[in-house]
Symmetry: C2
Subunit: 687 residues, 2 copies
């Protein structure tokens, strides 16, 4: 069977799983009237946000598509639109199922922990599998339609660009939304009014729960959709240039699609492994999710081996390069957990530093975040150098190997890392559902044991969220490097042009290293500004609605939702435009080789900054949770208050700015790849 | 007159100025017995610290010198020792005069503001002029002794290495010392015991004042000594390779020395411009210091033009490249002031964010720091690209220009930026003297108007400290780029070897981008650990010394000084070894070309991170001062308390980790340059 046909069949099987599982989730008990009402309010808010977000993005997408059609080709423009549309669609699917599964998870948790886990995880797997299935379906179908030649590969770079552009806005917009609502709800509700989290009297409580869905579900999904598609496109783009030069076997172009197909099958099987028993410990719950990931990883290895063996022209070193990528993903997840889990020393050290006050807790958190960058960087560097050397020395039938082989192996390592995304994303998208389920339990005044069960599920979600972020960053870096390699290949840039001795390249590299900082500054300030608006609105409602604090009057939730929506949409424009404009400006003004410098600089500093922010944020969050378990004075103590400040500082770090950097580096790389012909034609205005 | 002779004469004139000015400072009124006693205690503490620090460094220096003698050449080893010794000597001179000028500044301030300003600035100029004079004397004399040929240039790279190594330990050790004492004194004294700053009852008060001298005087001096020497060595190293290939005129090798000589003369004249009148406003005081810097800058331009004109073989484009460097330094200082001064919007915005609590103040400060990286990076990039293009297209007598000409122009831009260092460093080293003077006024219970005058002088010092840091970072980056260019030239690395397509170079670049984060994490944690020891000691003294709080018993200052000394020396080892070991390991394991990638990655991310940390720290400090002027509730309000936390977080940012990064990037570059022959010979263990 042709690899493309195989990929198409696998993605259709994935979509069938999505349909069946979604129906199964919807068929479960939706809970009592109150629960349904709350869930409905969250869904409405999330739908309203996505609808308005997509309305803005349609304009953006059409403008960009027209530009691509004029300056590049109509096929690329069409791919761009399909990529953008399917990215938005996966966000919509994920949000739709998550906002229906939340109350159903609460209802299931009324029966047992296992029932709750299953509903929540199933809904996560709907998201995970729709991302991989739609992504693979989209690129494979377009590649097939456009004739499976070099032009077809060029065209599907547009698909990756479309997915990337939507991902950026979804991540940034969703990230601002979720943290503005979260911080706003906490600052007035918890701190000023002294009411508990998820208390129905808090006017921002629905907006907060909406935020989990638009940020952590739709935003995260779009991010990884982009990585997934980008890695496949990058690998086939590198391969098609190498094959045209006779350096690579023609089947290398199709291998990434086939690997993705194998990965979908492995993920499907892994997803069936999730179950638990009543009174399961946190460790048991974590193990059940890990079993799913590890099963998928274990299955994908022989599958890829079979692909290599069946083809016969690709060479076994390539197989080991793919394994390097897969292993790197698992290792980064491991290190992320070490630095952010409160059972480990780093996070406990942050908690202990609360004893000398907020300042030392902040310093220690930043230091832990910075220290945690060492391991992921070394892991990625070993994977990149290792994969390259394998590919470089991979000689089959007297051809392959060399620079083309090396770059191809690096881009395939990214495909390998992301091959089991269907199930890893499921464990991640499960988190916000469990989080919402806890909120609904609280707001509908359910018995204490239900809340305990949802808390157990939620706490597990925090762990998977942290490791998921590490995985997202690592895969983004490998994907970006794959895209940069593809950019260099398709622009026909020779080694001596991409030299550090070129001051324009060096200068662009320095600017690239600065951009993630500027980008983070903009997104962090945006969260602060949006949160201030929520704070003012919540204060106004407490002041002007009589009986709100006593619980006799109902808060105007819709107003907070509307404010979050408006400000998130307003604030996502500047960073979004920056990310698209920066590579265009540098590519046109300084030329194609310096643009590669910009991309490398941004990837380097963006990688490190993203890991730092994600891990510092996760560690602060868990340092607070560590104290809440009763350590160091427990909840309400001075140490706890200091830890709450750390958690609040970490919120935009880990949920807005940090994750947005993943997309920044991928988006800039794919913009370079798509517009490469234009940059080569102009050749730089500054000579 | 030969340029080298000219340089030697100018540096001797500088040293004569140092002697005369030091005598003038010592001749002024040393104050009453109490003041002399306090000043004596500070001097003793600072001397003890430097003595112990240098004892550790002698061992380190001898070990490294032996390694250089074995693997490279004895001339380089000798230069290393001379560089290390003179660097330590400038630190000692600066500390000696500063700890004698502090009480004298207080005594002069009893007469008038102008008198106080003069004594403090004169002592700063002793530091500034001894840095440039000793630096230029050292490199010129060695260059002359070793025969003024290519081998001589190779040998004096050792001088730069020696200066750099001492600078790192001085910056890191001094930075840890000063912030551990400062944070420790504040946390227990100000926060727990509720006594004012500089109160004699605080057992850590002397250690705090010692810290200003060992950190901000000796540390800062060593840092800029390194930049100054490094820029000269880098430029002549680039020139000597180009001259040997017949691409550059032989006089290009000597030009950097001559420019430095002109700069000393211009700085001398500028230093005489500092005066003020009684009742001078903050703006007046700032203007008087700026007049000195601007006079020097204005004078250096015709001086350099004269050098170019007299030589006749160098070409005018080189002149404009030097001006670009000079202008870049002034611009970066301007932007630094904008982002950290409380008369401007960014810092006021941080202060206002205190209204929603500590968390938002921290987020806003980090965001301001990140945003402030944009302008300096763009300024440096324009200077680098501009200088390169000028040098590349600079054709004189049918030779010069091309890559050699471009790299030479970039390295000369660094020399241009640092040419007026004598006076810019004077305005910077003035700060800690004024700070100490205020402390002595407080501790000796002098009349209120004296404290007001010293406060005015101190506040000015904070502004010059912030701009000085911007200048230090900018010059460090240009110097590092010059050193990297020299490294690439002397290793004989061709353009196609230094390509981003080499995965080892790319991997090393990613590791380089990570190192500044790791390094900052280590130094920040070190400050925290050392501060904890001070906290415990101060708490112990308050507990165990009866009558201390009532002022009837005397605190055991020496104990706090001893603890700060011990922990700073202990904590400086790991980061110091890391900075030397990282380039050695990468150069030996991955080879010479990937090492260039490491250096570029570290320079890019180190630059941005250093600016971010320095400016965030400065802005937090001034946001607190803004509130202390009575804004937003003034001193003691909730907003002020939040701002104090921000200031404490910023302390290690701006005075330990941030500035240490300057040296990290220069030191790694110079290690590469010195050991280049070794790396080329081995050629990398991983092939």
């Amino acid at each position: 069977m042709s690899p493309i046909l195989f990929a198409l069949v696998m993605s259709l099987i994935g979509l069938i799983y999505v349909l069946i599982t979604a129906r199964a989730v919807l068929a479960s008990d939706p809970g009592n009237a109150t629960m349904q009402q709350i869930s409905g309010a969250i869904r409405e808010g999330a739908q309203a946000f996505l609808a308005q977000e997509y309305r803005v993005l349609v304009v953006f997408a059409i403008v960009v598509a027209v530009l691509i059609a004029i300056f590049i080709r109509w096929q690329t423009a069409l791919s761009f639109l399909v990529g953008a549309f399917t990215s938005a669609l996966t966000g919509f699917i994920g949000m739709s199922i998550a906002t229906r599964a939340n109350a159903r998870t609460t209802a299931a948790a009324m029966k047992s922990l296992d029932a709750g886990l299953r509903v929540a995880f199933r809904s996560g797997s709907v998201m995970g599998m729709s991302v991989v299935s739609l992504g693979l379906l989209g690129v494979s179908a377009l590649f097939f339609l456009f004739g499976m030649n070099r032009e077809a590969v060029d065209a599907i770079t547009g698909f990756s660009f479309g997915a990337s552009a939507i991902a950026l806005f979804a991540r940034v917009g969703g990230g601002i939304y979720t943290k503005a609502a979260d911080v706003g709800a906490d600052l007035v509700g918890k701190v000023e009014a002294g009411i508990p989290e998820d208390d129905p009297r808090n006017p921002a409580v629905i907006a907060d729960n909406v935020g989990d869905n638009v940020g952590d579900v739709a935003g995260m999904g779009a991010d990884l959709y982009e990585s997934y598609v980008g890695s496949i496109v990058a690998a086939s783009a590198v391969a098609v240039v190498g094959a045209a030069r006779g350096e690579l076997s023609p089947s290398t172009v199709l291998l990434p699609f086939a690997i993705a197909g194998v990965g979908i099958l492995a993920s499907l099987i892994g997803a069936f492994m999730v179950r638990t028993r009543e009174n399961a410990s946190q460790a048991d719950l974590l193990r059940s999710l890990r079993t799913a990931v590890w099963t998928a990883s274990a299955l994908v290895v022989p599958g890829i081996a079979a692909l290599i063996a069946l083809d016969g022209t690709i060479g076994w070193p390539i197989f080991f390069a793919i394994l390097l990528g897969l292993a790197a993903g698992l290792l980064i997840a491991y290190f992320t957990e070490y630095f952010t889990s409160y059972t480990e020393k780093p996070t406990q050290g942050i908690a202990r530093s609360a004893q000398t006050g907020v300042a030392t807790l902040i310093i220690e958190g930043l230091a832990v975040g910075m220290r945690s960058t060492f391991a992921p960087v070394v892991v990625i560097v070993i994977a990149v150098i290792g994969a390259y050397l394998l590919g470089y020395n991979n000689v089959v039938d007297g051809r392959m190997g060399g620079v083309d082989g090396g770059l191809y192996a690096v881009s395939l390592a990214a495909v390998g890392m992301l091959s089991t995304l269907g199930v890893t994303l499921a464990t991640d998208a499960y988190g916000p559902v469990a989080d919402n389920a806890g909120g609904i339990a609280e707001m509908s005044h359910l018995p204490k044991e239900v809340r305990q069960r949802t808390d157990a599920l939620d706490s597990l979600g925090n762990t998977t969220a942290a490791t998921g972020k590490g995985f997202a960053i690592g895969s983004a870096v490998l994907t970006a490097l794959g895209l940069i390699a593809a950019y260099a290949q398709t622009s026909g840039l020779r080694a001596e042009q991409l030299t550090l001795l070129d001051p324009k390249l060096l200068g662009a590299l320095l600017i690239g290293a600065m951009l993630p900082f500027l980008f983070s500054a903009i997104t962090m300030t945006a969260v602060g500004r949006a949160a201030m608006e929520i704070v003012n609105e919540v204060r106004r409602q407490f002041r002007e609605i009589p009986g709100l604090m006593e619980g006799t009057a109902r808060a105007d939730y819709a107003q907070c939702v509307a404010i979050s929506t408006r400000s998130a949409l307003r604030e996502m424009i500047v960073p979004g435009v920056l990310a698209v404009a920066a590579p265009l400006i540098v590519g046109i003004v300084l030329g194609p080789a310096p643009l590669a410098g910009l991309l490398v600089g941004a990837t380097g500093s963006g990688f490190v900054l993203a890991v730092m922010m994600a891990n510092a944020g996760g560690a602060w969050d868990n340092a607070k949770k560590f104290i809440e378990t009763g350590e160091l004075g427990g909840k309400g103590s001075a140490n706890h208050k200091a830890a709450v400040v750390g958690d609040t500082v970490g919120d935009p770090f880990k949920d807005t700015s940090g994750p947005s950097l993943n997309i920044l580096i991928k988006l800039m790389s794919v913009v370079a790849l798509v517009f490469a012909p234009l940059f080569v034609q102009i050749g730089g205005l500054v000579r």
